[in-house]
Structure formats: C-alpha cells, structure tokens
Subunit: 238 residues, 2 copies
DNA sequence: CCTAGTTACGTACACCGTACGTAGTGCGCT
DNA sequence: AGCGCACTACGTACGGTGTACGTAACTAGG
C-alpha cells in the first residue's frame, strides 16, 4: 500500500529507516554511489532506474522504496559528489580561500562531467551543500560586509564556476553518445563560426577573433573571471 | 535513401532548401515557432517530435527532413527566441547599454521559462546569437580594453543572467508537471532548510538567515550582481 | 525525358519512468 | 505471545520517448 505522495517532499527530510518491516538491503549512499559510478563511466543518460537497479543487483521497482522519484536520485548524486569538497581550515585570506573552494568545485565537475547538467536548475539544499555553504561563510569571516552580501558573493561565485566549467565540458558530455569525437565536433562548429565571420556581417566579432592568436586557454579565462568577481567584492580595491 | 550523417553537423550550415524534390511544406521558422508555442504552453518536456509534428499537421518522421536530431530542434528554439532581442543603437554609455541587454535577456527567459534549461551546456553559435554578440561588442565600443576582455565580459555577464534567472524560474518549471503548486514546493523546501538550520550545525548560515527580514527581492539581488560584475570591468573604478 | 535526390510518412524497436498488485518480513502494541 | 500493520521486494504493464528503416510520390537538372 505504498501510494506515491501527492504532496511535495524533500528526500532529505524523509528518514532513511523507520524500524518497521524487513531491513533495507541498501543505504542511500550505496544507491548514490552506484548511480555516480554509472554516470562517470557511461554518461548521465545511462543513469536509468533499471540500470541503477541492475548495478545494485535488485529489481527495478525496489529502487522506488528508497527514491520516490528519479529527480530525487539526481539529488542524491549531486549530494554524493559534494562530499568530495575538502572543508579546510580557513587561512584568514578570504580571497585565497574562496579561490581554493572554487578550484575544488571545478575539479569535482571535471571528475564528474555530468554535475553541471544537474546543478543548473536545481534548488538543492542537500546536507553536503549546507556544509559547503557554511564552510564558505567561515572562509568569508574576515570580509567586512553584511552576511547577505556574503551569501550573494558565494552564489555569484558558484554560478560563475558552474557556467564556465559547464561550457568547457559540454561538448565532451554531448559527444559521449555520438559516433564522432569531441575534436571533430568542435572543428565543425568552429568552421561554421569562421564561415559566418568571413561574410563580413560581424565586423567587431571578426576583429575580436583576428586579435587572438593560438587556442584559448580555458583555465586562464576561468581564473581571470574569478579574480574579477572577487575584485568586485573586495573593499580594499574601492 | 536519407541515411543519417555519421559525421558532426551544424544545422545552420545545412541549406534550408536544395532545389531537388517536392517543395518543403514548412520552413525552419515554422517548426521553431511550433516548438516554442508548445514549450510556452505546456513546458519543455511536452516538446516531443510527435507533438511538434502534430502541431504542424504532418507525420512524425517528416520532421526529420528538416531537423536531423532532436537536439537541433532545441537549437532552433533557442535561436528563435534570440530574435526577441531588440538591437538598439548604442548610446555611448556602455554600462547602461549592457544593463539593458541583460534586462532583455532576462525578460526573454521569463517569457520562455524553458530557455535556461536549454542554454546551459549548449555551445550555441546560432545566427541570432552571433547578431546579439556583435551588438554587445558595439555597445562596448566606448570601453577601452582589449577585444578579448570584452568578449570575456559578455560571457560573464550572460552567464550571470542565465544562472540567476534560471534559479528564479527553476521551481516554476519543475512543478509544471507536478500535482502541487510552486508555493507548496517552496514552503516544503524552506521548512527543511529551517529545520536543518535550527539544529545548530550551521551557525553562520543561521546568522545569515536571521539577518534577513521578509522575503528576498530576487530582482534586486539580480541587479546588484550585475552591477558588481560591471564594476569589475570598469576602468573608472580602479 | 529520365533519373537521382527529396519529401512524406507508416511501422517497428528499444528504452524510458512509474502505477499497481501481490507476496513475504519483522517491529511495536496490546 | 501473538496479532496487525508498515515496510521491503519485485513482476507486469502502460503510455510515452527518439529514431532507424522501407516505401511511395514528386520534381528539378542533365
């Protein structure tokens, strides 16, 4: 007599064990780990209820005892990789500390290229997210601005990290299920871009592309963006 | 003998008409408009090849003559709403102009709440994107920095607009197919957040939440973030 | 004119999320 | 102690998805 809820629910609020009935065969962590393993190895689209269940060695529908909706499985996955954040002791240099946090987030996303796709559009106050948020606030202790401004800085910084890293990764993730390579896809898109710029319809864009020599250093662009954002909140620079 | 391509392809590079055979019944614009209509009215998940074809009044597989893969349909949609950008004459005040551009992008996303979900993770050099980019560069003409820095500013600004607006919209889009309202969902998530903060495990987070009185003004937060980013690139402020 | 490249579209396949029903298990209460 | 109920487990089935493939009709270029 399960009966799916007709009312919203946060999976983190639902207790993992209620005492009654047979002992569950898995923990949420087991399930999250299995899903993460699949996503890492075969891409996010390979994460289906059937596939995860098979990986765990149980029937498909048994999964629904642990995870009411597939969306909740996604929340478990994001939270699971969130645990990879190292919550170090703040050094007192808030800029350096926040750069370190951002670098960790970026590293996590490069390790699990499906993360950005799940992050965008998810409210996401999971346990590990809260811990990370608290840690960021600790790092920002030396910064003398209102708490509201600090949370806005954190949000902006996280947004920038996600956006930039998502862009770097997008093609890789997309070409996963395609019969061609990342390089081929990028080459084709760049060829189109070049052909359009060559029409002369976009003079300023053309100039911008002429200016740059050699391939773009994505990591450098990323770091410059971070520095700019930090500048914008640094009272010592105003 | 259609035969899908085993090589990457940009839909914009494929000519819309090649002369041979019966006259196509629709243009790409028709198809994009139909898909946009469906997404606006019933949400992005309602945009299926069958549904779009039905809206156009043709067989499902006929669509594949115009759009080789569903992903390309998404590209058409994003490009279509990109046309809603008003490419005004730059005023000479680059900050004001860029704010205006950002405001337009945000407005478009509020009109078509599915846009952020498609934007994140898409390379996206569609015709209208290129036009918009060129227009932004025109607005930034008065700003005395290298062209590379300008494109980085545009990218950062667009990223911030997308991230913030996506967050504002996320719950609305998600609850579209759910049997409960946006307010209910938000209330539940906030209740969980409150319960966690109340445990005392997140003192700084708790302090930040105590500090704020009343509901958050999303628009104000958004504008503050934009101003910060613009500050970071304003030579007059350094 | 003919033929090759297109359009149109019905059918079919593999896969998806998940509603529902049934059977078995073991805690909590009386 | 033992009953009942909440829980786990999971097979089946339904309505949807993207799209490969085959066939028929059509028309512009040689």
């Amino acid at each position: 007599m399960a009966g799916r809820a007709a009312v919203p629910e946060v999976i983190w609020a639902r207790p993992e064990r209620t005492g009654r009935g047979p002992k569950p065969a898995f923990t949420r962590a087991d399930i999250a780990a299995a899903a993460v393993r699949i996503a890492d190895a075969e891409g996010l689209d390979a994460v289906s209820m059937r596939h995860v269940a098979a990986e765990l060695g149980c029937g498909t529908m048994s999964l629904y005892n642990y995870v009411p909706r597939k969306e909740d499985l996604y929340e478990l996955m994001v939270d699971a990789v969130g645990a990879e954040h190292e919550l170090f002791e703040p050094t007192g240099d808030w800029r350096a500390d926040m750069l370190r946090n951002a670098g960790q987030t970026r590293a996590i996303m490069y390790r699990h290229t499906w993360v950005p796709r799940l992050m965008s559009g998810v409210f996401g106050f999971s346990p590990n997210t809260l811990r990370y948020l608290e840690h960021c606030l600790a790092c920002l202790e030396p910064l003398d601005v209102p708490a509201g401004t600090k949370t806005e800085l954190i949000a902006l910084l996280n947004g920038v990290v996600t956006t930039y890293t998502a862009n770097d990764i997008a093609t890789v993730e997309r070409t996963r299920s395609m019969p061609w390579s990342v390089e081929e896809e990028n080459a084709v898109r760049m060829a189109y871009l070049g052909s359009q710029v060559a029409t002369g319809a976009y003079p300023r864009l053309a100039a911008a592309f002429m200016e740059q020599s050699g391939p773009v250093d994505l990591e450098a662009v990323f770091r410059r963006a971070l520095e700019r954002v930090l500048d914008a909140y640094d009272p010592g620079l105003r």
